[in-house]
């Protein structure tokens, strides 16, 4: 399986990927998974901010984004009715 040589992602593309992660996170009905997605995306992006070759990290990020968006659909099919205690606002 040949890997397509992608040119280095621009700053805007990276930020767009980050934004997509946060948008996907919102689709999860489960509080824990939602928070985890946001946290993991933030941590990963911050960890890789100064890396010299962002192509691999960017490709990895895109793959994970696909995973997350697929899982959002799957989880929404079996969403439990009971919300987590963290989401109770009073």
């Amino acid at each position: 399986m040949s890997v397509v040589a992608a040119s280095a992602p621009s700053r805007a593309e990276v930020l767009q990927l980050y934004r997509s992660f946060l948008r996907v996170a919102r689709k999860f009905t489960d509080y824990n998974i939602r928070e985890y997605t946001k946290r993991r995306a933030t941590d990963a992006f911050r960890q890789n901010r100064n890396v010299s070759d962002p192509c691999a990290a960017f490709a990895d990020g895109k793959a994970q984004l696909e995973v997350a968006s697929r899982q959002a659909v799957v989880y929404s099919l079996y969403a439990p009715k009971l919300k987590s205690v963290m989401e109770v606002h009073n």
Partner: protein, 137 residues
């Protein structure tokens, strides 16, 4: 159709005599009725019916400031004003994205990709929010 024409002629004749009346009149139509070139001072205090591009409602600004403070974990003593840039407050580009997402959730709007790139100050964010809330309403 005829009544509309009558109403518009009534508007055009009524806004000529007094200035006090024209501020209420101009809220029905757009800026084409403003005879003097200057901005009516009552417009910005109106509860958001007419979109003035330079001012944002103070509640919106306050909410934006609160969200920014919470996101960047700033102590309450930090002065977050309309003109303060996110970079000055210690936010990097990832923080800016997070702030914009937080604002999207708070106000129930959806910010476009390129609009989000141009947000640099608190005022920019508040203005964009106002525009999107009005478009949605």
């Amino acid at each position: 159709m005829a009544s509309l024409a009558q109403a518009s002629t009534a508007l055009s004749t009524s806004c000529k005599p007094t200035l006090a009346l024209s501020s209420r009149v101009s809220s029905l139509k757009s800026v084409s009725f403003s005879i003097t070139g200057k901005r009516f001072p009552s417009l910005s205090s109106r509860p958001g019916r007419l979109q003035v591009s330079c001012s944002a409602k103070p509640e919106t600004l306050n909410k934006v400031c609160d969200i920014v403070k919470k996101q960047l974990a700033l102590p309450d003593t930090t002065a977050v004003t309309a003109g303060s840039k996110f970079t000055e407050l210690g936010a990097d580009s990832l923080d800016t994205v997070e702030i914009v997402m937080g604002l999207e959730e708070e106000f129930g709007i959806s910010v476009e990709e390129d609009s989000a790139q141009t947000i640099a100050t608190v005022q920019d964010a508040a203005d964009l929010i106002e525009k999107l809330v009005e478009k949605k309403a």
